[in-house]
Amino acid sequence: MALCAGALLVALASPGPEDLGTFAIGVLLTVIGLGVFLEGVRLVLLPIGEALGARVTGVGSLALILGVGVAIGTLVTLAEPDVRILVGQIDRADALVAPRWAYVVVVAGGVGISLALALLRSVLNLPLIPLMLAGYAVIGALAAIAPLEAIAFAFDFGAVTTGPVSVPVLLALNAGVVTTLGGQGDVSRTFGLLGIASIGPVIAILLLLIATGGSG
């Protein structure tokens, strides 16, 4: 992929050698950086995710499940690189209507809340599709009253939150929950978690953009 970008760049933009050097360094940093970062995340968060998932069902307190969901969802989104990059892109397009950190915090909070709901669904074994329909209905209602470009941003954030950091941790968390419950229910309880979790940030960003009322 980097080769493609590099080839295109050279072919079309005819950059000077200095730019090419920067590009090469950048690519190196990106590729190595991502690998190292993901390894680090794996070392730290995965065991915690699983352990939490197991402990949480043991205690059997709904409040605890919700609390863990919010905490992990928020944390994992704060660590998600693509979220930061997307905010940066919005900045580059001169379309920010709130400070950058506001976007990040709102998205993280959105994921936290919807992860809590997703965990609840897993534990209580509620059906997936009605929940998702309800979620998308809310999104649809909000989208109707939101400023025009808000929809694009909101859905982009929703897509971006299920990234290389969140996916393994959330699945580990859910795996912990499901195995502790004695493997009740079918495999479809493990999946769909990410689908629900990505609804939260969309709603959150829509609310943020509705609240700040319009483009920059």
């Binding site: 493609c4 933009a13 190196l28 352990a51 402990r55 704060l78 859905f155 929703g158």
Partner: protein, 245 residues
């Protein structure tokens, strides 16, 4: 060049800190309270260090290479040749998807879940073509300027129509697969291209036109897997009928 490098690294380091520090705090709080995890302290410290250094490098690298590259490439087209971005977008989307490790993981999953009756290569090709098509459409949107929901709404409606007809395991997998194609490549380079293109064309607002691309890229694999799920379920049902005849 060195100045830019240090400057970018500096910003990246700060941003990375806001991402990693909360994780670190919670990780250590958890370790402090949970006696069974004591042995994990060392790997956690290494993990946090890796995560911080890695994220700083990644964010800096993206800022140095992919974001400007996207803008520069887009800037080198003029109004007449901009349409080339549509086929280029298709190629980039397809290539990025094939290169995405998460897609390969999904392929293994699908092969396992369908007990081999669904060919992983077919899945990979389908998803890659789907993403390519979507990126091309997104570029077209920048050029031609039509609203996002023209594509997004029918797409999601199709998703909810197909979902009940697909094999149940595929439904969950489909929704989970939305995130796999929206990797760093898409968010950085391809989106940059779109933003750059929008900024270079008169009267196009990048905010409205270029964004939403990621959402579309996320939708494509969902539809693809769902369609496969429908096919799989119908094939399974047909086989059942034949067995009982």
């Amino acid at each position: 060049m060195i100045a830019t490098l240090i400057d970018t690294l500096g910003h990246a380091a700060v941003e990375a800190a806001t991402a990693v520090v909360p994780v670190a705090l919670v990780a250590f709080a958890f370790l402090a309270f949970d006696r069974r995890s004591r042995s994990r302290v060392r790997s956690s410290v290494i993990g946090i260090a890796f995560a911080y250094v890695g994220l700083t490098a990644f964010l800096a690298g993206v800022e140095l290479a992919f974001l400007p590259a996207g803008e520069r490439v887009a800037a080198s087209f003029d109004g007449a040749t901009m349409w080339l971005l549509v086929p280029i977008g298709f190629l980039l989307g397809a290539v990025a998807t094939i290169a995405e490790p998460a897609v390969r993981v999904m392929r293994v999953q699908v092969e396992r879940v369908s007990a081999g009756s669904i060919d992983g290569r077919l899945l990979l090709t389908a998803i890659a073509l789907g993403v390519g098509a979507v990126v091309a459409t997104a570029m077209l949107r920048v050029l031609v300027d039509f609203p996002l929901w023209w594509i997004l709404l029918p797409g999601y409606i199709l998703v909810f129509i197909l979902a009940p007809f697909a094999d149940r395991q595929f439904v969950g997998m489909a929704f989970d697969s939305g995130g796999i194609a929206t990797g760093p490549m898409a968010v950085t380079f391809i989106l940059s291209l779109a933003i750059g293109a929008a900024q270079n064309l008169p009267g196009r607002d990048p905010a409205t036109l270029a964004f939403g691309m990621i959402a579309l890229i996320a939708m494509a694999p969902i539809l693809t897997v769902l369609i496969l799920g429908v096919i799989y379920r119908r094939a399974a049902l047909t086989t059942q009928e034949e067995t009982f005849r």
